[in-house]
């Protein structure tokens, strides 16, 4: 009896403390839980729901099943946009990774003025993308105005149309995007290179392994997690490209003739120029699906390591 009482007496304040702590926890989490529910999860579900409706903001949304998807997949415009988006991704990602790895690999060996050189490469990353898009747009202008064409002209090469050509506009915009993201990738690659233990390199050198073999047999395999992260990060960046395209083609967004239009610009125009909210929501679901697949691919690659 007495024994029972003392345990209860001893336990009472402990339980009390535990409930009090739980109260603190949920007091801390109350606003965040509300935020994530209302500003993240509800809109996600809403986007799926809207993608099955026909809605122009004027009349109430009408359920139309898969019609938005059917129309989207039947439209040549969508497939052009789809091709453009993947052109940014499939050409842009390898080029930017190759460039940034090369810079990081050699910059890592430089001691003199290291921080200064690094700053030069990193600087574009922190600039405002929409502002720098206008600088690049100016660079790409025809001869007397545009810097690039003037330099080409001085070298005896005829003018390039860059942003006015359906062939060259997309690569021209892609260069701007690669330029803007390069600094970030260089820094991440350098962090990855630093995390490889020096002893591996020393052991390899003692065994007389050459630089090229060290790069292929030690550096690249050990750098795989970093590389996978950057491939995914950069792919997602190119899939969501918007600021550069919008600002470099304001007179005909996504032009000429839709040759530079990425998915996000199409979503923007469908939703906020044509006010076809349902069709735009269906396009965002496509974007979401692609991003999800890429993320899953990343998990799968890193698991198989």
């Amino acid at each position: 009896m007495a024994f029972d009482d003392t345990t209860r007496a001893a336990r009472a304040p402990r339980l009390n403390m535990r409930t009090r702590r739980a109260l603190w926890v949920w007091a801390f989490l109350a606003l965040p839980v509300l935020f994530y529910g209302v500003i993240r999860f509800y809109p996600t579900l809403d986007a799926f729901r809207l993608s099955f409706t026909n809605w122009n903001l004027m009349s109430p949304p009408k359920f139309i099943g898969l019609q938005n998807y059917r129309e989207m997949f039947a439209s040549p415009d969508f497939w052009q946009v789809f091709r453009n988006t993947f052109a940014y991704l499939i050409i842009g990602t390898p080029i930017s990774l190759l460039l940034s790895f090369t810079v990081a690999y050699f910059l890592d060996r430089i001691r003199f003025g290291h921080a200064f050189l690094r700053a030069l490469y990193f600087l574009p990353y922190i600039t405002t993308a929409s502002a720098m898009a206008w600088v690049w747009r100016w660079f790409y202008q025809p001869a007397p105005t545009g810097v690039i064409n003037s330099v080409l002209g001085a070298m005896g090469i005829g003018g390039m149309d860059f942003l006015r050509s359906t062939t060259w506009a997309l690569p021209s915009i892609m260069v701007t995007a690669i330029w803007a993201g390069l600094g970030f990738q260089v820094i991440i690659f350098m962090a990855g290179l630093r995390s490889i233990p020096q002893t591996y390199y020393e052991a390899a050198r003692i065994d007389g392994v050459g630089d090229w073999a060290i790069l292929r047999k030690i550096t690249l395999p050990l750098l795989k997690p970093t590389t996978v992260f950057l491939v995914v990060f950069s792919s997602i960046g190119f899939l969501r490209i918007f600021d550069q395209v919008y600002n470099m083609t304001t007179n005909d967004p996504g032009g000429p003739l839709g040759s530079t239009k990425p998915l996000v610009l199409m979503i923007y125009q469908t939703a906020f120029n044509s006010y076809q909210m349902g069709a735009a929501a269906a396009q965002t679901v496509v974007l979401f699906t692609i991003l999800l697949l890429i993320s899953l691919l990343q998990l799968w690659i890193l698991r198989n390591r």
Partner: protein, 286 residues
């Protein structure tokens, strides 16, 4: 370092401190770096030229003038947009520093029912692209009358899963003993977080602050959608409308672009070390 220096010495070789290959490598990297900042240099250079001089592509203007800046600042709404961007970026940054830390701390340092669920739920929002949410946000904002207001620009970014995850990682390194000791001293849980735990994670907090600030300062997509009146434009959106109006007056456009870029450059020059370290932290944790 010491090992590298002694090896050639013991081998009886002269110490080739500066090798030609190194100088070549340095020069190539330096030229590459100069190419990287060429657009930025030309932007500033042209912003200091008059309309008649812009076809002269010399990097250093012959007679530099600030008249474009005076004109853009007095005619355009740049000063207003600058304040708008600052207000939005500062408010969102403060909110993220507060809430992301609070949630990160709670998830790292409390054991409670539902903890794993809350963590996974927040983390899973990383998978959802902003572009998917803008349509529902737009409808929500229009229902609540938030369109074309500061709050309308800010509300979607008040908390982020990325920041929460980053802060959680760092709060996990704070020893539990510190927190227990503070509890015995009778401090309440909020004070323990704010006074004891927060000062121990300032590197992560400053990285989060810098990222959130720069991210919101340069944000374009959502402000473009949610704001329609020119007085409420943020700097990037304002710049776009200004540049479209200027058409081919490139010296004016470059001046506007320079005005939009200068604040980020100042932040970078002042906080370079923290930014680079922050990118490494965030990149490796993310």
């Amino acid at each position: 370092m010491a090992a590298a220096d002694t090896t050639p010495a013991t081998a009886g070789l002269p110490m080739p401190k500066i090798r030609p290959a190194r100088i070549l490598l340095w020069t190539v990297l330096f030229i590459g770096g100069l190419l990287m900042i060429t657009p930025i240099l030309f932007m500033f250079s042209t912003s200091l030229k008059t309309a008649g001089q812009i076809y002269d592509l010399r990097l250093i203007p012959q007679s530099p003038t600030f008249s474009n800046y005076v004109k853009v600042l007095s005619e355009g709404d740049f000063f207003r947009w600058f304040l708008n961007s600052s207000l939005v970026a500062i408010c969102v940054t403060l909110s993220n520093c507060f809430f992301d830390s609070l949630v990160g701390y709670t998830l790292a340092k409390f054991r409670f029912r539902g903890r794993q669920f809350v963590f996974i739920a927040i983390l899973s929002t990383l998978m959802i692209p902003t572009e998917m949410l803008v349509i529902p946000w737009y409808l929500m904002a229009s229902d609540f009358g938030w369109l074309d207001t500061y709050w309308g620009i800010m509300f979607p970014g008040m908390m982020t899963a990325f920041g929460t995850f980053l802060m959680k990682q760092f709060f996990e390194t704070v020893p539990d003993d510190f927190i227990e000791a503070a509890r015995i001293d009778g401090l309440n849980e909020f004070t323990i977080w704010w006074r004891i735990a927060m000062p121990l994670v300032t590197p992560a907090l400053s990285a989060l602050a810098i990222f959130t600030f720069l991210g919101n300062w340069t944000a374009f997509f959502w402000p473009l959608i949610s704001i329609t009146s020119s007085e409420l434009y943020t700097l990037p959106v304002g710049l776009t409308s200004f540049a479209v109006e200027q058409s081919i007056q490139w010296e004016m456009i470059m001046t506007g672009a320079a005005l939009a870029t200068i604040p980020t450059l100042i932040v970078f020059l002042l906080l370079q070390r923290y930014i680079v370290r922050g990118v490494m932290l965030a990149g490796l944790k993310g």
